[in-house]
């Protein structure tokens, strides 16, 4: 079947099998940032944005992407570099395999609501990391979210 959707800002037409997942389609189209870490929707590595919401591309049918706006890390390179530089400044991007999924969910979180530490952890709970122990990621996220705030307001 044929679908039509916006991928990273560009209108895209694709011929897909009925059971193609968005994950496989995205990698086929060169979005190698999207990773797969499990088969049970537990790891969050495959997170992308669909119509602004963070979704697990491994269990999202490509057929359903018809008419949608899909964004991967490749489509938000500027924001990725910006938030990524906070991660890098903590040394918190270790093997990097969980980074794309985490960054997409952080961007979704930033757009959705303002949260305290516990709220941030809960929002990102579906993004597993085995290398960093999560502390460095939280330090980076907090610094990133409060960027541009004047020191005396903090």
């Amino acid at each position: 079947m044929e679908i039509e959707f916006t991928l990273n800002g560009k209108m895209t037409y694709e011929e897909i099998a009925d059971d193609t997942t968005l994950f496989h389609l995205l990698r086929r189209k060169g979005c190698y940032s999207v990773k797969c870490g499990c088969e049970t929707e537990n790891c969050g590595l495959c997170t992308v944005l669909v119509n602004g919401k963070s979704r697990l591309s491994c269990s999202f049918l490509a057929a359903r992407a018809n008419g949608c706006e899909v964004v991967t890390l490749e489509g938000v390179e500027k924001e990725a570099k910006l938030f990524g530089s906070y991660l890098a400044a903590e040394g918190a991007e270790q093997c990097g395999f969980c980074s794309p999924g985490l960054i997409m969910n952080v961007l979704a979180m930033e757009r959705e609501e303002i949260l305290d530490d516990e709220g941030i952890k809960e929002y990102l709970a579906g993004n597993l990391c085995r290398c960093s122990g999560y502390m460095g990621q939280l330090r980076a996220i907090k610094k990133y979210l409060s960027r541009g705030e004047k020191r005396d307001e903090l």
Partner: protein
């Protein structure tokens, strides 16, 4: 891997129902469990084009479409205001936000899963399931029904002034629950549901008794359920947990009142 043969986006409920009568068909709601169900010759009937993804607050009830996501349930202001935030409580521990952006109310309920926080919570409220052919069925009755090829269209939760509180215990914060409990109170009656026993949630209704200690009430309530053993816990432990959490929920309801 998700594997199936045909994808059909249903344009109306009649079409969805007709397609679903074939043994090789599966309804695609949130599709979070599709990998487990995958069969090579399967037809997937997608309901996402039927406009069933809204939460409507009416004067006497909430009408929630089957394609509403768990995240919508979690964040809906009206629902949480009306029921003391139980909808946030019973959804927040489910895997992660991305998962809840996909999983649907219909999928959670139709599956009648033992581990379902959602069913446990809804059972303590005045909830009805709206089936396409079967019409309105009280949730408790629906849970006891055998799974058939009907389509779950909506659920209805009556706004009857019930106050509800929810608690669960998990081995890690986003794991399946070891036990799930919900208690609601209205007009001298206590509605107590316990799920993840590990079997699916069941409801017990008690008379509120001011003279009876909460511990005693909780004990009586917990004894009305049966409990089993699985990887996450023993039946004996679950029974004790149910008693403890029901007591705590009853105490919380009391506090709320004051």
């Amino acid at each position: 891997m998700i594997r199936f043969k045909n994808y059909v986006k249903a344009e109306n409920l009649e079409e969805a129902f007709a397609l679903n009568q074939k043994k090789s068909s599966v309804i695609g709601g949130g599709m979070m469990w599709l990998k487990v169900q995958s069969r090579v010759k399967m037809t997937l009937v997608d309901l996402s084009g039927l406009g069933l993804d809204g939460i409507e607050e009416k004067e006497d009830e909430f009408s929630i479409g089957a394609m509403c996501t768990l995240r919508q349930l979690e964040t809906h202001e009206g629902l949480n205001a009306c029921f003391n935030g139980v909808f946030k409580e019973c959804t927040r521990s489910i895997v992660g936000v991305q998962f809840r952006n996909g999983a649907t109310v219909g999928g959670s309920i139709f599956g009648r899963f033992g581990f379902s926080d959602i069913i446990t919570c809804l059972l303590a409220l005045d909830t009805y399931v709206e089936l396409y052919k079967g019409g309105l069925v009280p949730l408790e009755e629906f849970c006891r029904m055998k799974s058939n090829r009907d389509i779950l269209v909506r659920i209805h939760i009556k706004k009857d002034g019930r106050r509800a509180v929810y608690a669960s215990q998990r081995m890690s914060k986003t794991d399946f629950p070891v036990i799930a409990c919900c208690a609601a109170q209205k007009a001298g009656k206590l509605y107590v549901s316990v799920g993840a026993r590990p079997a699916k949630a069941e409801l017990v209704v008690l008379e509120e008794n001011q003279n009876c200690l909460k511990e005693e009430l909780a004990k009586r309530a917990s004894e009305r359920f049966t409990y089993g053993t699985n990887m996450r816990g023993s039946g004996a432990y679950r029974k004790n947990l149910a008693e403890i959490y029901i007591k705590r929920l009853l105490e919380a309801l009391d506090q709320e009142e004051r």
